[in-house]
Point group: C2
Chain length 196, copies 2
Amino acid sequence: MAKIKTRNNGTKKAVIVQHAAMLFKSKSYSASSMRDLAERVGVEAPSLYNHIGSKSELLQSICFTVGNTFIEQIEQIANSHHSIVHKLETIIRFHISMMAENFDEIYVANHEWKHLKEPYLSDFLNIRRNYEKRLVQLITAGIENKELQPINPYVAVLTILSAVRGLEFWQRNKKNISRQELENDMVNLLLHGIIK
Amino acid sequence: MAKIKTRNNGTKKAVIVQHAAMLFKSKSYSASSMRDLAERVGVEAPSLYNHIGSKSELLQSICFTVGNTFIEQIEQIANSHHSIVHKLETIIRFHISMMAENFDEIYVANHEWKHLKEPYLSDFLNIRRNYEKRLVQLITAGIENKELQPINPYVAVLTILSAVRGLEFWQRNKKNISRQELENDMVNLLLHGIIK
DNA sequence: CAGCAAAACTAACGCTAATTAGTTTTTAAA
DNA sequence: TTTAAAAACTAATTAGCGTTAGTTTTGCTG
């Protein structure tokens, strides 16, 4: 009979993936060994293979969960009926909240996707390109709209995405500033360089 | 007699370090092997050890060259007699030019410093903290000065540094936009969120 | 309590890694 | 042309990797 391998709230695989995200974040994918991971999970390395297929499957799981979450979110926001400025603000705040609540996975997806194997590597890059394209469209619409300054939309997207990604440095220095203050200041800083 | 191992313009060690930067950038430090590196240099792996001490020495060399370059530059700019806004603009443009002209080393210093061994790891992090501290001081002075908006200086530094670091994505898509346009747009975008 | 599948374990395989030892080739000055 | 150091080579060492095979333990179900 199929036994559900739960521990509190999820499958054992989910537990392993979560530990993998923390491990890959702190040591990088290539420098992390399955023996390291096993130790964190509290098990011998070969036992992991009762639950997962391979080391690289862990990376895939992390990267695509993150990628799909962002794609879903931007579709939902883009299809809503608000001003472009409001949509941009919502997107920026979503990035910040993801950074605060799912830091490990996002860090890994941002830094370790390079080690995905084909065809997953290409798939992941497509997801990312798609996300950027939607953001460019949004900003372009805002410029035609006269809501936004006539800047190069590509530069705006690059700047916004880089700034929110940079919140990983805030994660290391959380004491310096509260999330609320950070979120508001960053939204203002980024939007005031754009809004007309 | 000490023979100078030059090839065109530098020591053989410099050639190896440059190849190492390109290799570490494309495959990450941990996933790069000395055999990979040797192949790029055009030599067998053990031959590298006639010129370098170890793999990790290569990473040290890359990270500290980059770190010291930025520290020197910010000291020079901070000690100059210009407005804060002008100093900030100069710093941002310096980052962009470094990103354009020394991309491999900067990418590696930004992404692979984690694999430095002690005490180099601590030294490197100190350099970086120092750099950020100087930037925070500059922006704080600009706020007291009334040149800048009364925002949180830490957020401003975080945003600026992240945005210029994000130029690594531009490096992959250089066709989309010229460096001049990028440089001007980004300087405007960042400063207009700050300037009073 | 019996039985059975899930999931743990130990042992080991085949590879690849960084590095060292020892030797030969190259290079350039005397 | 001799010579000696610099820098290349081959071969080997030690260590760790992801993963598989085979076996034992665990814990639920009847």
